[in-house]
């Protein structure tokens, strides 16, 4: 029998988890914005707003200490960070575009060298996804192979029901365990019907065609034009659930300090600047090309996945109105012209 949870019990679940000592992260009101932030009680959860930033901070903090150092009487020592202190976390209310992203990032954080700061948070986090009932003009998950009902990445997935409450599906053991630990909060779903889900106003794009065009068009007039007005502010990368570039910096002095990982962005001019002053990506167009290439070609070349979940945040909040969907839609059209009609498959 399929299960459901009432909104009241969902909030009770948060209260219970918080009492058990878990860190519960979900959309909540933070000043004028809705953000994925730690919840202190069930009533904090905001269910009807897409958070301004993605949920990646739950796994990949904006700034994170990776070691500390100290010098005493001329002797330097380095102290490791114990990632075992990462709290058990439940990420609740993650939209499909946000729930799908951490699993995509597993590849880069675990190939060969394993970044345990990311991976231990992944192991210790249960993701409760939430289907979307509304989309705005910037949403384009359906264009890149996801959807408002996509469960990818979710351990437990909630679909809003007509008459209130949420249908619950547990695609993973983690999700099943969470339900099994709190059986009193879940009811039989009966015949309750799901609410109609959001329908982003975009076309489904052929990601293979886009990649094939990118394979052959590192040099293209397209790159000179689309990013002319890019201010290089990095907002797109910081809001993106899948952008994962970072910098490593020391804070403090040689006598006492910390080494930290910080979010970084390929849109910044200094990102690739050599010590000599030579810069391989010396103009904004090249940096924007790298952004598109990384998401729709390089990451696929390396790891067989697209580094974009169609959340639309980079469109919604770009201060100069650059629209990544419009760019890949154009590439899709050019790809179709070059390669003829598609197979109808993804």
């Amino acid at each position: 029998m399929s299960k459901m949870i009432t909104e009241q019990n969902l909030r009770l679940l948060i209260d219970t988890l918080v009492k058990e000592g878990a860190r519960v992260v979900g959309p909540r009101q933070a000043g004028a914005m809705t953000l994925y932030e730690p919840l202190t009680k069930g009533d904090d959860l905001v269910l009807d707003q897409l958070p301004r930033r993605s949920a990646k901070e739950a796994f990949f903090p904006v700034c994170e200490t990776i070691l500390s150092f100290e010098r005493k009487e001329g002797k330097t020592t380095v102290q490791d960070v114990d990632v075992c202190t990462v709290p058990e976390t439940v990420l609740i209310g993650a939209r499909p575009c946000d729930a799908a992203a951490p699993g995509i990032l597993d590849a880069v954080f675990s190939w060969d060298y394993k970044d345990e700061f990311f991976l231990e948070r992944r192991r210790r986090t249960t993701i409760i996804g939430l289907a979307c009932t509304k989309a705005d003009d910037a949403c384009f998950c359906t264009a890149v192979g996801l959807s408002p009902a996509e469960m990818k990445g979710a351990d437990l997935f909630l679909t809003p029901l007509e008459g209130g409450g949420y249908a619950c599906e547990a695609p993973t053991e983690k999700g099943e365990r969470l339900m099994a630990r709190h059986p009193q909060l879940f009811d039989d779903a009966g015949n309750a019907k799901p609410l109609p889900l959001a329908e982003p106003a975009v076309e489904k794009l052929d990601l293979q065609k886009i990649k094939a065009w990118l394979d052959g068009n590192f040099e293209s007039p397209l790159w000179y034009g689309i990013a002319d007005r890019c201010a290089g502010c990095g907002a797109c990368a910081f809001l993106c659930p899948a952008c994962h570039c970072f910098d490593i910096n020391d804070e403090g002095t040689a006598d006492k300090g910390e080494r930290r990982k910080h979010w970084d962005a390929c849109g910044f001019g200094k990102f690739t600047n050599h010590a000599s002053g030579h810069n391989p990506r010396d103009i904004q167009n090249k940096r924007y090309r790298n952004r598109i290439m990384h998401k729709f070609k390089y990451y696929d070349d390396k790891f067989g996945q697209t580094l974009c979940t169609g959340c639309g945040r980079c469109i919604r909040h770009c201060p100069v109105g650059i629209d990544i969907y419009a760019v890949i839609e154009e590439i899709n059209k050019m790809g179709a012209r070059d390669q003829g009609p598609g197979t109808g498959k993804d």
Partner: protein
């Protein structure tokens, strides 16, 4: 129960055992690992790099400039041009630095056995070839002729000057040193001219020969056509890409040329591989 792996960002601690001012702003360090086990077990191959840290300032990426045949220490060489390198420069013998590595691929030296070698280097790009030069000189009978063409803007800008002298005096090394026009002082006994020009003059035979080229992008750009003219195939030319890096581990996202992560797939590439990449380096 927490069964996570090691912190991949943790450096080894090393003591500066010796330092040398190569030029007015380039300094080399000899570093000895403080932990006895690390000192005994640290191995690397010529061409690999490391992340060196001045605690409190951060990390910088340089090659390991010493040869893997010389045990017990590693050497690096850097120009003071920013926060980290200035901080490294402010350290003294006996001070502690951090070293993460070795990272990246390496020169396939075993494949060069039985061949002649031509090293072509410019300015501060000698260190990534110096590791190979000493590696090969320490196994001298495994190679044919060894030619080194090395140049810099001026006499003062040549690094490892004492070793240039040593190579010059060896009968089993053909050293051709040069400075750019105007860079020669009254006692200069080398060539005067840009590295690609001097290489063309020296005209090493391409038959059964491997060329190893490191230098600023502009030098490489003009050296590759010379090697081609001399008859070198792209597969017989090796170089290193010196992209900006932070993690050195294939994660932080800045060293890529197209889908090639220089920190993991490189830094050593053949000219054939470099030509197949998007020309963005």
């Amino acid at each position: 129960m927490c069964d996570h792996g090691k912190n991949i960002y943790m450096p080894h601690l090393a003591t500066i055992e010796a330092m040398h001012d190569e030029t007015s702003d380039i300094r080399s360090f000899r570093l000895v690992f403080q932990d006895e086990q690390v000192r005994e077990n640290f191995t690397f191959r010529a061409g690999q790099f490391a992340e060196y840290s001045a605690f409190g300032a951060g990390e910088s990426t340089f090659c390991i400039a010493s040869s893997p045949t010389r045990k017990g220490y590693i050497e690096c060489c850097f120009r003071s041009v920013g926060r980290v390198t200035d901080a490294l420069r402010s350290l003294e013998v006996g001070d502690t630095v951090g070293v993460r590595g070795p990272y990246g691929n390496s020169f396939p030296i075993e494949e060069f056995y039985g061949k002649n070698l031509v090293f072509v280097a410019g300015g501060i790009a000698l260190p990534p070839l110096r590791t190979v030069i000493w590696n090969c000189l320490d196994l001298r009978d495994k190679f044919g002729d060894i030619t080194i063409v090395y140049g810099a803007r001026s006499e003062a800008d040549l690094v490892y000057k004492h070793e240039l002298k040593e190579w010059e005096e060896r009968s089993d090394v053909n050293l051709v040193k040069t400075v750019d026009p105007g860079g020669n002082g009254p006692t200069w006994d080398g060539k005067v001219g840009f590295v690609p020009t001097i290489l063309e003059e020296a005209a090493p035979a391409a038959a059964n020969t491997i060329a190893l080229v490191c230098g600023p992008p502009i030098m490489i750009k003009f050296t590759l056509p010379v090697l081609e003219k001399l008859g070198f195939a792209d597969e017989a030319i090796y170089t290193t890409l010196e992209n900006r890096m932070k993690c050195g581990l294939g994660k932080c996202g800045r060293c890529n040329v197209g889908n090639v992560y220089v920190c993991k797939d490189g830094p050593v590439f053949t000219a054939k591989q470099v030509k197949a990449m998007p020309q963005e380096f």
